[in-house]
Amino acid sequence: MTVFIIIFLLTLLVITALAIVQTSNLFAAAMLAGIFSLISAMTFFLLDAADVALTEAAVGAGISTVLFLGALALTADHERAGTAGRLIALVVVTAIAAVLIYTTFDMPRLGDPNAPSQLHVAPWYLEKTPEYIDVPNVVTAVLASFRGYDTLGETFVVFTAGIGVLFLLGKAPVGQPKLSPAMTFAGKAGLRHYQIPRVVGRLLIPFILLFALYVQFHGDYGPGGGFQAGVIVAASIVLFALLEGEERALQALPAGLLKLLAAAGALLYGFTGVACMLLGGEFLNYSVLAHDPVHGQHYGILIIEAGVGFTVTGVLISIFHSFAARGAK
């Protein structure tokens, strides 16, 4: 029965993607991209990938939309219609799509228990996780422990992206005035028009942060983990910056602290691996961290998820501030 809901959602995805490509108003395209991410999050949830659904909803429908809007505020509003080479592109694209659809007839159908992907490594992970790690969420166990090295690389990728954006947008261009309190939304537009969002926002931000902490520490027992928690904290700080102004957001969490947080998270992850080596195991083999291998795995997962959460928080808020502080007129 869920297969019909999945088919409906996938059709919506195609329609939304067509609308994104066709519209010339970039603001509408950014909003539609957020809707696209939300619909794909729903599809992922129905396809039994709960962690991925949470991450896609937080990242795609939340942070990604904010980044697009920040970039759009600094660049163009509408797309100018270009005409060169569109027919060729359309023909090539249709041909490749036809070839791809022809090849899909060999793929196993959705949910086939005899598909190759279900038969080789996956049963081993499902069987051995209670024995080695004893954590209910197998995805977190694989992500943080069995394939912890990949996650270390991913944390470094996030950190590198933060460094890159800070290099590109960190220094204000010549001739740009510094931020002043009058430049906030509340300062420019007059307080009364933003009274309700400010009151409700101030009420909700502590609960959003509390939820982020819940997601961080419950990554072992349900969908969640460091990335999702970091994104949710970043979203709450973005809400604070939108309502109270850049000045006050930078007073609450200074830029230096954010950079420190980003670096500290990645370092924490790396040092956990080195600590495991110093205690006699291999790099990122958490079993040596405690008296009992399973407890060691629990401690290791806790520490590295905290590291990931710090890095993602620091990097995403720094990126937001880089976009928001640029071009403040």
């Binding site: 490509v21 163009a76 270009g82 659809i101 209910p136």
Partner: protein, 119 residues
């Protein structure tokens, strides 16, 4: 018929992939290209997540009770979690570069930028 319906995910993957690819190659506006790139990435995520579920299975989170519960494949979720985060990182970097291009050239349309470069 149910077999064909079971392939619908892959067809949508192919169509979304090509829609994103079209946006990246045929559109002139740099931000539109980036949005097309993110559609392309989402199509790839869809392909990987589609090979995960099992009939009668549930999300790979153990809970008390059901001893003979069938669980879906956890590995595509792990891959795609990393891929989503890497995707947002490249998106942020790409948008930062676009902002600098706008400041340097005054436009974010690819043909106008080529014109300015040619002079």
């Amino acid at each position: 018929m149910m077999d064909l319906l079971g392939l619908y995910n892959y067809w949508v993957f192919a169509i979304l992939l090509m829609i994103g690819f079209y946006a990246v190659t045929a559109k002139q506006n740099l931000i539109k290209k980036l949005i097309g790139l993110s559609i392309f990435q989402s199509a790839v995520f869809l392909l990987y997540i589609t090979i995960g579920p099992v009939e009668g299975g549930t999300a790979p989170i153990f809970h008390e009770g059901a001893a003979r519960q069938v669980y879906s494949n956890p590995l595509p979720s792990v891959l795609i979690l990393t891929a989503i985060v890497v995707g947002i990182s490249t998106l942020a970097l790409g948008l930062a570069i676009i902002v600098r291009i706008k400041e340097a050239y005054g436009s974010v349309e690819e043909n106008e930028i080529r014109e300015i470069d040619r002079q």
